[in-house]
């Protein structure tokens, strides 16, 4: 595990709190996160049901449970000889968000020529970091997604892929990738259940990292 100190913002107070970025996690960390997040997901589901929040407005990853997909995840296990790498951010002893990416098998759709990119297979924040306006719930911590994306861009850059990254977004998350990340929206992709495909090109990747 390789860690870097960072900060997150506490949603309720606006204070910055200490956090850690990890850039070489393994599948056990993903399962640990699933274990930490499950009770909160159940609690959030109860709250949404009790408040009659329509299901179409629920966080769209609320029912995800990666531990249940352990068999399918095994071939994607991150490690020194794997094309996959798992990144995470933790604070106050808990995982606040994870990102699983792979560096082979995906090419840019922006320009012809088949240049590789880092493809983000999954990115998820802890359920307590989902703001749910319908129940009056704010995110416990902010800044998780933007920093995880930064790690994927840096990995792409260090692999000489010029920071190119691609991903398929859940509908609720599209504004984040289009707006904050400056990714190009390629629209619904039929091979991924019509999730919209987003890609960050070299110029926007450079701009993203130049914020330092």
């Amino acid at each position: 595990m390789s860690t870097h100190s960072t900060k997150l913002k506490r949603g309720a107070t606006g204070d910055l709190v200490d956090a850690e970025l990890d850039d070489a996690l393994d599948l056990d960390d993903l399962f640990d996160a699933a274990k930490q997040w499950a009770p909160e997901k159940i609690e959030m589901t109860r709250e949404l049901v009790n408040r009659n929040v329509p299901k179409s407005m629920w966080p769209q990853s609320l029912h995800w449970n990666w531990a249940k997909k352990a068999v399918e995840l095994k071939p994607r296990a991150p490690g020194p000889l794997s094309a996959h790498r798992l990144f995470g951010i933790s604070a106050e002893g808990k995982w606040q968000g994870l990102l699983l990416a792979r560096c082979v098998g995906s090419q840019t759709r922006i320009a012809p020529g088949g240049r590789d990119l880092v493809y983000i297979e999954l990115i998820e924040t802890a359920p307590w970091n989902f703001p749910v306006p319908q129940t009056g719930r704010d995110a416990l911590f902010k800044g998780v997604g933007g920093q995880l994306i930064e790690l994927a861009i840096r990995w792409s850059d260090e692999l000489s892929l010029q920071g190119r990254v691609g991903l398929h977004s859940l509908p609720q998350s599209e504004p984040f990738y289009r707006g904050h990340c400056g990714m190009r929206d390629f629209g619904p992709d039929p091979s991924y259940q019509n999730l919209c495909y987003f890609e960050l090109d070299e110029v926007h990747a450079r701009r993203y990292l130049e914020e330092t």
């Binding site: 970025l21 009659n52 769209q60 990853s61 794997s82 920093q147 619904p188 019509n194 330092t212």
Partner: protein
Amino acid sequence: MEHKKYEPLRLPANRDKLIARAVSADEESVCGGGLAAKLGMLDERPAVEVRREASQQAFRLQTLARFVQLSRREHGLTSEQFATKYDVDVRELLDIEEARGIPELRVLYQVSQALGVSYDKLLVLAGHRHSRDERLDREALRFAASSGPMDSLSKTETQALHDFIKVLHD
């Protein structure tokens, strides 16, 4: 390329600006689901349909919220006064006015009685009843576009409110 993959990432010593930008992002949600799609973890309905339904539901709840708020203000009542006068739970009234979730049937009935409008139409607006009422949709849009969150009702808002009340009476 293989041997480079697990070298620790090189992060600059000072990431203050990047952190500041990350924590100020409007992170409604950041979840990406390419793998979830491949492993069959997504909602069974097509993403476009989910998007459309969520947006329509949100719009109707916002219209209901604005309608109730404007009606209460036209009566010259605070939320608390309105709740007391019409025997509505103040928290439930505030939930309606802030479009937080689908209101309970009981509360919608109380509101329909208080404002003298159709209970059935409120059920449609709140999402309890699915109805292809094109006129209601059209008028809801017109109403939403003509009103805004101002302290006192403008002439336009008053007119928009009265027009919409007529639709809700039918």
